[in-house]
C-alpha cells in the first residue's frame, strides 16, 4: 500500500543553525531526511509515520571526514562511498570500510550515510558493530549546544536511543591507535550483495606474548539493538587463543545474546553462527 504523497511537507534549511532552529521550535515534528535509503522504503510500503521532513542532505557542516592527530571524525552525512574511498579510514579502520562495502549496492552506498545508519537504529545495521569495535564517540548537536557520548551507550533498546527530539547526529569520532590490533569483520546474509544480515560480527584483539591483551567484540542482528559483548571481551583477557577457548567463549557469548526468530533467520541459527564467527575470529589470532 503506497503512501499518499501530497500529505508530506518538506523544508530545506540552508545551514545547520537553521535546521536546529526549526527542530528547537517544533521538537519531534520534523524528521531529518538525508539520503533516504531507509525512509523512502517506508514511504513505498505506506509505513512512513512522519509527515514533515527536514532536508539535511546538502548541509555542509554535517559533511566530510576530518583527520586529526588522535582521531578521525566523520560527519553524519558521510556516505558509505566516501567511507570506502577515504585513505586513512581504509588503512586504520578497515572494518568500517568492510561494513560500508557490504551495505546494499553501489547506488545505496552513494546515498546511505553513517548518521542515517545510526539514527535508523536497526538491530541489523552493518556499520555499528565496526563503530563499537573502534570505541566510537557520537557527537549530538541541537540549538542548546552539543554533547559527546560513547557510541556504546547510544542505543538503549529496540529502536530507542539517547537522542532528544531537537537533536541531530553531528559527527562520529574514531580514536586512532587500533592499527596494531588484529581485526575481523564478517556479515552473514542470504547472499553476498544486497542482503540484510542474519548475523554481523566485528572484532579486534591485541596480542602480547601469545595472550589476548585487549579485545573488542560487537554484533548485529542478535539482540534488540547492536551489541558490544563486554562479557566475552573480559573473558578473553589474558587467555591464549585455542579451540577450547573458542568453545568456552562461545558459551559466554550465548549468555549475552538475545536472538529472535524472524523472517530472515531463527534464533538458533543466529546463535550458532555468532559462536562460529567468534571461533573463526579467535582462529585468526593463533
Amino acid at each position: 500500500m503506497r503512501s499518499v504523497v501530497p500529505l508530506y511537507e518538506w523544508e530545506t534549511p540552508p545551514d545547520l543553525a537553521s535546521a536546529l532552529g526549526r527542530m528547537a521550535r517544533e521538537p519531534g515534528a520534523w524528521k531529518p531526511f538525508a539520503g533516504g535509503t531507509d525512509l523512502m522504503v517506508l514511504l513505498e510500503a505506506g509505513k512512513l509515520p512522519h509527515r514533515r521532513f527536514l532536508n539535511i542532505w546538502k548541509i555542509g557542516e554535517l559533511r566530510g571526514v576530518e583527520t586529526s592527530a588522535d582521531r578521525v571524525s566523520l560527519g553524519a552525512l558521510a556516505t558509505y562511498t566516501e567511507i570506502r574511498r577515504h585513505d586513512v579510514l581504509a588503512r586504520e579502520f578497515p572494518l568500517l570500510g568492510r561494513a560500508a562495502a557490504e551495505t546494499g549496492s553501489v547506488a545505496t552506498q552513494n546515498r546511505g550515510t553513517i548518521g542515517g545508519n545510526i539514527a535508523n537504529a536497526s538491530p541489523a545495521a552493518d556499520s555499528p558493530p565496526a563503530l563499537l569495535v573502534y570505541d566510537a564517540e557520537i557527537e549530538l548537536v541541537s540549538a542548546r549546544g552539543s554533547r559527546r557520548i560513547p557510541y556504546a551507550n547510544f542505543h538503549t533498546g529496540y529502536k530507542t536511543m539517547d537522542l532528544a527530539a531537537d537533536e541531530l547526529i553531528w559527527r562520529v569520532h574514531l580514536p586512532r591507535g587500533r592499527s596494531g590490533w588484529r581485526q575481523y569483520y564478517r556479515k552473514v546474509g542470504t547472499r553476498r550483495a544486497q542482503a540484510i544480515s542474519k548475523v554481523c560480527f566485528a572484532a579486534a584483539a591485541k596480542i602480547e606474548n601469545g595472550l589476548i591483551a585487549g579485545a573488542r567484540i560487537a554484533l548485529a542482528s542478535v539482540a534488540p539493538a547492536v551489541l558490544r559483548s563486554r562479557a566475552v571481551e573480559q573473558f578473553l583477557l589474558g587467555r591464549r587463543p585455542s579451540p577450547e577457548l573458542a568453545l568456552s567463549a562461545g558459551a559466554e557469548l550465548a549468555r549475552e545474546l538475545a536472538p529472535i526468530d524472524d523472517m530472515r533467520s531463527t534464533a538458533r541459527y543466529r546463535l550458532r553462527v555468532a559462536q562460529n564467527l567468534l571461533a573463526e575470529f579467535l582462529e585468526t589470532l593463533g
Partner: protein, 163 residues
C-alpha cells in the same frame, strides 16, 4: 510559484538539457522522470531499492530513482538511459549488450547499462570482480548475468571504457 498547492518547482539538468517540473516534494524521482519528463526508459522493478531497474545518475553518482524524493533533484545534474547514446551513436556498452546478448526481456537493461557506464567512467579497465560488484545492485531474471558480464568486458576492450 507552483500552480498546485504543496507542489515544488524543481529545476535540474537532465541529459545535458535544463529541465523544470512541478512535483510534490516526496514524489519519487522515478515517477516524475516518467510522468513529467516522459523519460520512460527508467523502469520500476521493486520500488524499494533492491533491484536497480530505476538506476539513474545524479551528480555523477549512481542512485535508485525510486529512493530519491523529487525535491532533492532540485539543482541536480541527472543522466538517464535516454542520455547514454550520444549524437545518434550507441554507447560502447549499449553496442556490446546488443552484440553479446546482454539484454533479454529488457526491464533491467536501462539500469544495468547505466550501472555499467557509471563504472567505466570511474574505472575504464575494471576487473571482473569490480564489474560484478558494480552491477550487484541490478537484478536480472533472464540472463543469469554471464552474458551481461561478457557484454561489459567486451565494451571495455572495445573502447577502453570511453564509450
Amino acid at each position: 510559484m507552483p500552480d498546485s498547492p504543496g507542489k515544488l518547482r524543481v529545476s535540474c539538468t537532465v541529459n545535458g538539457e535544463p529541465a523544470e517540473f512541478e512535483a510534490y516534494p516526496m514524489e519519487r524521482l522515478l515517477d516524475v522522470l516518467r510522468r513529467e519528463l516522459r523519460l520512460t526508459g527508467t523502469k520500476e522493478g521493486c520500488g524499494e531499492g533492491e533491484c536497480g531497474a530505476c538506476s539513474v545518475e545524479m551528480d555523477g553518482a549512481l542512485v535508485n530513482s525510486c529512493l530519491v524524493p523529487a525535491a532533492q533533484a532540485d539543482g541536480a545534474v541527472l543522466r538517464t538511459i535516454e542520455g547514454v547514446a550520444a549524437a545518434g551513436q550507441l554507447h560502447a556498452v549499449q553496442q556490446a549488450f546488443l552484440a553479446y546478448g546482454g539484454a533479454q526481456c529488457g526491464i533491467c537493461t536501462p539500469g544495468m547499462i547505466l550501472a555499467a557506464v557509471n563504472l567505466l567512467d570511474r574505472h575504464p579497465s575494471p576487473s571482473l570482480d569490480q564489474i560484478r560488484e558494480a552491477l550487484s545492485g541490478n537484478l536480472c531474471r533472464c540472463t543469469g548475468y554471464t552474458k551481461i558480464f561478457e557484454s561489459v568486458v567486451a565494451a571495455c576492450r572495445k573502447s577502453d571504457g570511453r564509450g
